[in-house]
């Protein structure tokens, strides 16, 4: 596929259709892809409209962003694709720290199941409409183990991790961030010199 420099007229028409029916706070275009910033309250209706009326039948990805220190703190990003035109549309909305919940779209795109579990696992945003909530009362973790108490992708979570203990399941300890055996030494030397091996950092 060629790199598009501008969004197609059809995609722009779709964005205008969404803006005509719902609140669109901001619309940006980058390398032929449109991004619409919408509101959390309307998001589920917008998603349904985009899927059923505009033909964005494929949900490529869901991700979350932590704007630590800003309010609202979190941002959800949904990447939709129109399968017939092979064109993407990105929808974003913000989620505040005090009410870190987001509407589930598993009823529209079943693939959202694991994506939403990952957002919960890594960022701690919950999805009250997720099938896990109906089945077991809460979202299950997907990358970390059930019982892990932290949300590692939040900006206030240290890279080295934190101590945790889940008896018979797993534990975690703070990782040393410098020195130790098998460290690489950045240098212009050959592979013999750069190979990770036992040495203490200066």
């Amino acid at each position: 596929m060629l790199i598009k420099l501008e969004a197609s007229a059809a995609t722009k028409k779709d964005a205008a259709a969404i803006a005509g029916k719902f609140t669109v706070e901001k619309q940006t275009e980058f390398r032929g892809e449109l991004t619409l910033v919408v509101t959390r309250a309307q998001f589920h209706d917008i998603a349904r409209f985009a899927k059923d009326q505009l033909g964005y039948t494929y949900l490529v990805d869901i991700s979350s962003v932590d704007h630590f220190g800003e309010e609202p703190r979190y941002e959800m990003v949904y990447e939709l694709q129109n399968f017939e035109r092979v064109e993407n549309l990105r929808l974003k909305y913000t989620v505040s720290e005090d009410d870190a919940t987001a509407p589930s779209v598993v009823d529209l795109w079943p693939t959202a199941d694991w994506h939403e579990r990952e957002v919960f696992d890594m960022m701690g945003i919950t999805f009250p409409g997720h099938p896990d909530v109906k089945a077991v009362g809460h979202l299950r973790r997907i990358l970390m183990w059930d019982g892990y108490p932290f949300y590692p992708l939040r900006k206030d979570f240290p890279l080295a991790g934190r101590d945790s203990d889940t008896p018979d399941v797993a534990f975690s300890r703070v990782a040393p961030l410098a020195g130790g055996p098998f460290v690489t030494a950045p240098s212009t030397g050959d592979t013999q010199e750069r190979e990770p091996r036992s040495r203490e950092m200066e």
């Binding site: 990358l143 970390m144 183990w145 932290f150 590692p152 979570f157 240290p158 890279l159 080295a160 991790g161 934190r162 018979d168 399941v169 797993a170 534990f171 975690s172 300890r173 990782a175 040393p176 961030l177 130790g180 055996p181 098998f182 690489t184 190979e195 990770p196 091996r197 036992s198």
Partner: protein
Amino acid sequence: MSTPVAYDSKIEGNIIFTKLDSAINWMRKNSLWPLPMGLACCAIELMATGASRFDISRFGAEVMRFSPRQSDVMIVAGTVTYKMALAVKRIWDQMPEPKWCIAMGACASSGGMYRSYAVLQGIDRLIPVDVYISGCPPRPEALIEGLLRLQRKIEGEHSFLAQKPALSAALA
């Protein structure tokens, strides 16, 4: 170092004299059955070591066993995440004695480049390791060198000598 086996063909015919420990260790070190705990890219090098070019069977360790009950040496090849760590420990506990462990590569030895919330910083925090192999990943030659070091270590073990006091106490 004195030779562990004394044999003089002129006077002894088909009889050799050796220590029980030496004979047992000789058998053990030349028929190590590895448990391939392949967790990341090191496992690819482990497979290459088992394949024809490097051919780990030259050292008697070609019988990869996926059942812990049948294996002697656990080769931890790759990144041990905390989620996997207790499973590795459980499989190690299921292996019968005598057993050994090779930590293959930087990750299994120390967490490697993964200084992170999700990765165990060395499998030696959970199970005793006999041989560490550096490299990311180590070449098959390095793994074979590690295996030879382990064989040398097994040569020097005194398992029966260590059991002798208990045996004499039981017989008395």
